[in-house]
Subunit: 117 residues, 2 copies
DNA sequence: GCTCCAGATCGACCATGATCAATCTACGTA
DNA sequence: TACGTAGATTGATCATGGTCGATCTGGAGC
């Protein structure tokens, strides 16, 4: 055990070391930032419920079926879907007048695996 | 296939049904809201990096080692740790002058499993 | 007692984000 | 062509949240 040279400010009582020095490599930082971006997209109750509904109906769900599930207006649902789409969590196809949303395959896997390390 | 009775506003072209009606049970809603609370706590880059650092050093890490890892002030780091603690993601013990934080065992499992469900 | 330090809390400031009313854009139908 | 509808966009409002400086708390040492 090496006796680290400490300035008076960092002086510690004998037998009371603070803890091991901690390093946080840049690679881990960048991965964490990507995970945080996905987590941010999921950090709203309505958005998480949207994802839940979409994946339970494997395939596509029309926006006109999603909107009445929540007591917010249609523009708000549209906004939340946009946030999810920009985060790469969901995608959509237009067919006629209607827009169909679906969870992008594997979109949640990275975060799930990161969380369970 | 039952021909649903539609008001003129919901009238659809023949051969162009919107999609299957969607139900979202209350139980699923509540679970989603709990998941959203955890996701919210993880939705900040600094907080996710804090979690990352803590779990990589299995055991405890002193706040005085965490603070210099980020270019925000000490009160801000303290704030983020508080958010994580209130969400049940981390916990802390005080020992002497120092506070040691650690990831609560299994704290991230629920969200991870929900995501990969 | 007093002083120093680690960490938490407070108060204020500012940026972000959720929401809605109104409008716009396509598309389908008559 | 004109009209109605699904959904996206705009702009404004209001709440939330990240940040910092200053202060407070409590333990350790003198």
């Amino acid at each position: 055990m090496v006796d680290l040279e400490l300035t008076p400010k960092q002086k510690r009582g004998p037998g009371e070391p603070c803890c091991e020095p901690v390093a946080y490599p840049e690679v881990a930082r960048q991965e964490a930032e990507r995970m945080a971006a996905v987590a941010k997209a999921l950090a709203d109750p309505i958005r998480l419920q949207l994802v839940d509904v979409l994946r339970q109906h494997a395939g596509e769900v029309c926006v006109c079926e999603l909107t009445p599930l929540f007591d917010v207006g249609q523009p708000t649902v549209s906004h939340h879907l946009k946030v999810l789409r920009q985060a790469g969590v969901v995608d959509s196809v237009r067919r006629g007048l209607w827009a169909y949303y679906f969870v992008r395959p594997g979109a949640l896997e990275d975060l799930s695996r990161w969380l369970s390390r």
